[in-house]
Point group: D2
Chain length 346, copies 4
């Protein structure tokens, strides 16, 4: 029996960090050696994560990550906090999994455009890092020192669009991604927009155009994406409804084949397209708490439009779970290790 992986989390007091803790503390091959938070330093992790009551783990300050030898280090702080420190972290940790946006884009020139003028401080590293969706880049993740966690909306949209897009089956100029998202995606800090009386019952088009994740989706699919994001009454979960036009009039069977070729052997991607029942197509409810991606589609009988639907839990598959999956790949563990298989129902 081998000794467990020693892992650490920088920025472990947010929702992404909490979810990493929840998963890693129950992962059979892992020992959580470090969890940092400058705000909660010296306090037990339950101060930030009341669901982790009973865990014997205390927050350290961020700088501890630069002096602690680890097998895997997860960066769960906000955008802009990873890049300046990344060379230091790569010295203390064998593998680094950056959940922030700092290394998602391979092309440094995209950052200022989509991140309000932000310039990447270390573009050289971008050619080396791997985009953290194992189903797309598994081989590279096995040996990557730096894996960039994918954005949550980007993950849901990329899974829906990529099989069709990379085969050149869709009109690349008319791709609408209409996403519906839970409140946890905005993070653990309260704000006017997260005030319950205002957020409750919302169907709020908070980012109707120009969302940052557009860049990632375009990177992973090669098509031009028109993304609109809506906040809906939900804590966890994303549904992305992708409206595309087929170049040729493919029938349902042919489309099935495309998705099955790409995802048929994937243990954590479900092609959901039932003939009956309530849950005939993907829904966030049935993936909450899991690392599963549910993908399905419906042909418009009135036109060449195809509607592709994709549902994930933004904190698991959209953040922490995908990082754990990448860690499993990087260290040669079974890819589903430590990742719950079934959502709750109801």
């Amino acid at each position: 029996m081998t000794s467990p992986l020693r892992v650490g989390i920088v920025g472990a007091s947010g929702y992404g960090g909490g979810e990493l803790l929840r998963l890693l503390l129950q992962h059979p091959k892992v020992e959580v050696a470090l969890a940092t938070s400058n705000k909660f330093a010296g306090k037990n992790v339950r101060a930030a994560h009341p669901n982790l009551r009973g865990v014997d783990l205390t927050f350290a300050t961020h700088d501890a990550a630069e002096t602690t030898d680890l097998d895997a280090l997860f960066l769960a702080g906000p955008h802009g906090t990873s890049a300046p420190k990344i060379r230091a972290y790569l010295k203390t940790a064998r593998r680094v999994f950056d959940l922030a946006a700092d290394h998602r884009l391979a092309d440094a020139s995209q950052y200022p455009r989509f991140y309000e003028g932000w310039t990447h401080p270390d573009p050289e590293l971008l050619s080396e890092r791997v985009y953290g969706i194992a189903e797309f880049h598994r081989e590279k993740i096995r040996s990557a020192r730096l894996v960039a966690g994918a954005g949550c909306i980007a993950t849901s949209a990329a899974f829906a669009l990529r099989p069709l897009a990379r085969r050149g089956l869709i009109d690349p100029d008319h791709v609408v991604v209409d996403s519906k998202i839970g409140s946890s995606a905005a993070g653990a800090e309260h704000s006017p927009g997260s005030h319950h009386p205002e957020r409750s019952g919302a169907v709020r088009p908070y980012s109707p155009a120009g969302h940052r994740h557009t860049a990632e989706i375009q990177q992973e699919t090669g098509v031009k994406v028109s993304l609109s994001a809506h906040a809906v009454e939900l804590v966890r979960g994303i549904l992305s409804t992708c409206h595309v036009w087929l170049k040729e009039d493919l029938d349902e069977k042919a489309i099935w084949k495309v998705f099955r070729e790409d995802y048929g052997a994937e243990p954590m991607v479900q092609i959901v397209k039932e003939r009956s029942g309530l849950y005939r197509l993907p829904e966030p409810k049935l993936v909450i708490g899991t690392n599963n991606v549910a993908v399905g589609f419906e042909r418009d009988p009135l036109s060449k439009r195809l509607v592709v639907l994709s549902a994930i839990d933004n904190l698991v598959r959209g953040t922490a779970g995908a990082a754990v999956q990448n860690m499993n790949v990087a260290f040669g563990y079974p890819e589903t290790e430590g990742l719950p298989r079934f959502a709750l129902h109801p």
Copy 2:
């Protein structure tokens, strides 16, 4: 002082009928003379509508509508129940407002296609009836004997698309309407899909393509519409996110002008496009309980896409309130009479 209008409602026990009762009972120019329900006949209206406690009104059977002289008769039963009786109703009532789908489409040939083979029994009447959106057909409604209530999703989408479409400003082949809808739109009858543990927290693509209301939207806008409808966690309300591509690269000001020309003088249409605050764009929350339509838009800085948003209360503007507005127009009352101006907040 003139005597009040004598009005009646056929099929008054459903959610649409209840909403009509709520509005008409408080309308200063109206006396509710008849409310029918075969299921609840002989019982007080509160048996179906617990919010109407204290009202002295008893359900009659449907056939009473064929023998009661009325100024206005509202038909609030399900699709297929109005058409067979409509000639009889037009004899007893001066004006008929049909809230079912039976007279929405001017072109009888569209019915079998969108209503699963249903054939309209009296196509002649379709040329006479008026589509019940007063902002589009006010003059005709003034003198129409039969006004067809618009579908709820159709109403929200048509208000968003019509100003641009009728000016020929948008690509007519790539029009996506992505609608998010509350549970009351499915009616008062319980079903597996309305079971709370299953419906709660849903983001359910229940009609991703081929929705019936597509036909109405196309009729009122002249463009080809790709509609997808999603059930979200909400009892009342619809947000329609309309993704269109502009033929020319119009700037924001030019688009403002288009909407202002069509809606600037309308008391119940709000153009919502703020620079700051939480409610910068239309949201169902802020129209619930009112007959208001909120319309707004955002230009995609990355392409010629324009996102037009439209929010209504499906039971008021989408059903009962629009019918009351049409009644006001038909009888020469102020158009806002009896229609609450402000939604609750929060």
Copy 3:
């Protein structure tokens, strides 16, 4: 025709102030002459109240209330802001309606105990002010210069308990009030506890004992009250479940008689106790947006316990609507004027 009442609101940017505006702007006998907010001074009221879009009214600063002659002045600021200014307000306004807690308690000695040591600066005024529940103190309100708005939980509990308590029918030492409350009761300011991901789905015992409103309920009922308040998933509404023990084994009919005697003639109190249907007993859902109080009860067949239930909308009957009702009483208008009769359903 008489000229409308000139009314003003100090602290009009919170939820209580917004609700007052919504009601007063639609009240047929009222002109809103003043709405103050230091935070929003100079801005249109829609900056704070997005549902009031289209209203031509600008926030003034608070001090304007000391120089504007008004028929009625409503004080809607937080606890502790009314008392220091009250003498000034009583000079400029004929009648003052204080919605804060500053004048709720007749006995000044209760304040330090229930309001964390706060001492009332002007105890003399307490003997003059009237507690603002018209059903209990209608005659005094007619002529009162200063009416103290009742607390929202206190209102719901007092309506449930008072008929039995003032007749001496219940054990005065074992009175449990278990209240369930929506998020709007905590006000318009965001906080960690109002952050949607934390507040959503909550059943949170936020004040299990010692709640401030205990003092008011005891004042109005004369019995010792054990109050526990819970935050539940709801924006508006309160249900108070009052568990009492009857001294004598009264049957249902006898209890009905008690409630009918006190409330049978009240237009805004509903005794809800049905034999069938979903809404057999009071529920917040059916009073939202109205000034109605729903009261009902159930005898425990296993003991002498009686469960009395009471539902209100915390922002209408619990705050703004009760103040409008009191204004109506004070100025001799019909008591229900400007107060919506029916809640939405569903």
Copy 4:
């Protein structure tokens, strides 16, 4: 390595049965050999449980349970279906865990009173069966052939009251249990009361007195219980607020000691009583998906009232999880085996 337990579930298509499947399919020591449902016989379990997509298991008919040798058989059908078959099941299965109400009460004479006249067909068995709360009856469960699953509300209330009650510390005649419950507790069948537009936003006193679980709580605590149950906006979860009066004026420390003595060593009971933070006291949110019971309390500074709070997930600790825990006890496995330790947050 020993071979896994062969287990079966009768009535596996409801919410309790689905939850059992979710837990047992992931239990490392168990093989699910049988799942019955007459309605879904011959279909894959995902027909009833869409979260179990990908599981290779088909529903059998109920009678298969009478002919299949099993180590453990779980009965998850409705009340009244277990008792008539129990002798047959005890022949084919080594241990039977009845989740219905049929064997909860040791005293057969209580059944007609609390179960609308229902008479237990086999009272003899009641003396042998064990009430299925392991923390109360662990030793007996080790060797019991028949373990009766506790009711969900009863479980939450009994954990709150028992430590105080069995020490004689509370007034046994004034014990109020005010419970707030999610919609899943009413089961998988849709009904007028579960229709989303009616159930959403409910704070509904659906059983203000005389609830069946009263009998169980009295059995396990020895005090007379006044129970009221409310449906709140929640799918899963129960909070029971227990209002009791202390005989002596115990301080907080003394009460802590009582709870710590009973629960301090229990891995799945949490005493929750924090000085700060949002989650200072038990809340359903933080136990959803787990078998944990959270218990906490607050002393009323104004009287001898003590408020004891208890939160569980009705489908896990209130049904399926407790049964798995009992199975673990009965077969000598670690008691927490197969039971998730952490809830999701947020």
